[in-house]
């Protein structure tokens, strides 16, 4: 039970990282990034490849994941300057699918759909229960650091200018703000955080396959952000925890609901998630902890 709980919390912590990255991009800057999972995948594969193929130490792999995911956001950030929000959504969604297509097809590097296995886990030599808890502490440490960094940015003049750009880009320009630089930095930092989440994920699960990086992951993160409250860092953490709790908890629902097959229950879960999201958007559009819109 402890191991299960630790496993859940580790995954929740990784999703919290993803949500924090998206919150910087969407919540503060208003960039619609529908390709978040692409940066998650780049982080996971970078660290996995470097630590297995080149026997890099895990911290180095982690850093490389962070840097490469951030760097891959740079050209997309350049594109985002010229695109209206909804077009950026399409481009980023396409980007994450291209990343997945590359992971499937470039077999010399990624072993295709077979994926990479035997990815080392830090603290793996510890006894089973303890190893999980040590890893959980690591994930919580990284999430905590990311939370602090995003919150600090949010409270700084940098974050204030991001919000100004979100509210009215032309007005920000008229005040001499070089909008492109702010958007790119927001995009790159958010993607680097997703890359860090990817590395933590790869080293925890011990194997990566392209199927783990479907757009569904992106939309789970979006749900968590909308549920918790775009622009509020505590909100998106809470949103992630609520979503994870529901997705995991509803697995046990079949013990309490008779006459429903497993297949039907799986479908019901998604219906419940969808219904919950619609209700939030109807009755609390700013999310659980989000600030009220004007």
């Amino acid at each position: 039970m402890t191991a299960y709980l630790a496993a859940m919390l580790i995954l929740a912590g990784i999703y919290c990282l993803l949500a924090l990255g998206l919150n910087l991009q969407w919540g503060y800057t208003g960039l619609i990034n529908f390709g978040h999972v692409g940066f998650f995948a780049i982080g996971a594969y970078t660290s996995a490849l470097l630590t297995t193929q080149l026997a890099w130490p895990i911290p180095a792999g982690f850093l490389a994941a962070l840097i490469l995911a951030g760097a891959s956001a740079y050209p997309l950030g350049l594109v985002s300057i010229r695109l209206r929000t909804d077009y950026l959504a399409i481009v980023t969604l396409g980007f994450s699918e291209v990343v997945r297509a590359v992971l499937v097809n470039e077999r010399w590097l990624t072993k295709g759909t077979q994926g990479l296995s035997y990815i080392p886990r830090p603290f793996g030599q510890l006894p089973t229960g303890l190893s999980e808890i040590a890893y959980l502490a690591l994930v919580l440490g990284v999430s905590g650091a990311a939370f602090w960094m995003v919150r600090r940015l949010g409270r700084s003049p940098f974050g204030r200018t991001l919000e100004a750009i979100r509210e009215n880009e032309e007005a920000a320009q008229s005040l001499g703000k070089y909008v492109a630089s702010f958007k790119i930095r927001s995009f790159v930092i958010g993607a680097a955080i997703a890359g860090a989440a990817g590395a933590l994920y790869a080293h925890y699960i011990n194997y990566v396959v392209p199927e783990q990086f479907l757009p569904l992951v992106t939309f789970y993160v979006w749900m968590a952000v909308i549920l918790g409250g775009s622009g509020s860092n505590r909100g998106v953490i809470l949103g992630t925890l609520v979503l994870m709790l529901f997705l995991e908890g509803s697995r046990f629902a079949k013990d309490f609901i008779p006459f429903v097959s497993d297949v039907k229950l799986a479908a019901l879960r998604f219906m419940a998630v969808g219904l919950g999201l619609i209700l939030v958007l109807l009755y609390r559009p700013q999310g659980i902890l989000g600030r009220k819109d004007i």
Binding site: R152, S156, Q173, L175, K177
Partner: protein
């Protein structure tokens, strides 16, 4: 001359919006741009602030050619514009709106935000003092901490003016600062704009409110169909037959019928 624009041309599709428009703004002057709807006034202002690229013509600001400049570079050269429809940062408070404006903020660097927080905060305190002066100057004290989206139309106009003032401009381009503003507030804004001129600023004001133009402006440029029809002191300009014609049509404009 602070600002000079020469022979500005602009077409939208097949429509010629600006046909050789020009402007000269000397120091410490309030220049009005008037003209009937569709004369190209707002487009002209957008070209001057480089939000719209002219097809032909030359713009000089403080002796520098700014024709190829980008909009964000204009504000750094001490010329700031406002918008016809206020563009407040709706979810930021009035104070935050003002604090966005200043240039060279240490806290706009990611690494300063993370690693040099005390320096960022020291600068924030200085900027907040300045912002409070502007808030007082514009009588916005009561709404200081309200989200800007909740302000009235007139207050939003004032807020835009205040945001521009945070940049210490020498030249302001105001697009209809009196539209949607209640008459009591109009006199108050006029007074403030005079005070700014006395401090050494120059202003270019696109405006429909004739009372405001007549009271405020040292010189008026009249636009019609993308051209500068005439220019001069407000009183002289308002009695010009060509101006009346542009506004009211040929028959009403001819002096014989007046």
């Amino acid at each position: 001359m602070l600002l000079e624009a020469d022979d500005i041309h602009k077409r939208f599709g097949g429509i010629k919006v600006l046909v050789g428009a020009w402007l000269k703004v000397p120091e410490r002057r309030i220049i009005g741009i008037i003209g009937p709807n569709g004369a190209g006034k707002s487009t002209f202002l957008a070209v001057l602030s480089k939000f719209i690229e002219p097809e032909r013509g030359r713009i000089t600001l403080f002796g520098c050619n700014i024709t190829p400049a980008k909009p964000y570079q204009i504000a750094r050269r001490e010329m700031v514009r406002t918008f016809q429809v206020p563009r407040e940062f709706g979810r930021l408070t009035v104070l935050q709106n003002l604090l966005v404006a200043p240039k060279n903020q240490a806290g706009e660097s990611v690494f300063s935000a993370w690693l040099r927080w005390s320096r960022v905060q020291a600068q924030e305190r200085l900027l907040a003092e300045k912002a409070d002066e502007v808030i007082e100057f514009l009588n916005l004290e009561t709404v200081r901490n309200l989200p800007a989206g909740q302000l009235s139309g007139g207050q939003k106009k004032l807020l835009e003016l205040g945001r521009a003032l945070m940049l210490n401009p020498r030249l302001l381009l105001l697009d209809e600062p009196f539209s949607g503003v209640n008459p009591v507030l109009i006199d108050q804004i006029i007074e403030r704009l005079f005070e700014l001129r006395d401090r050494g600023l120059s202003l270019v004001v696109v405006e429909h409110n004739m009372y405001a133009v007549q009271t405020l402006c040292d010189e008026v440029f009249v636009m019609a169909e993308g051209r500068i029809l005439t220019h001069g002191e407000p009183r002289a300009v308002f009695n010009d037959a060509r101006v009346l014609e542009a506004y009211l049509g040929k028959d009403y404009g001819s002096p014989a019928q007046n």
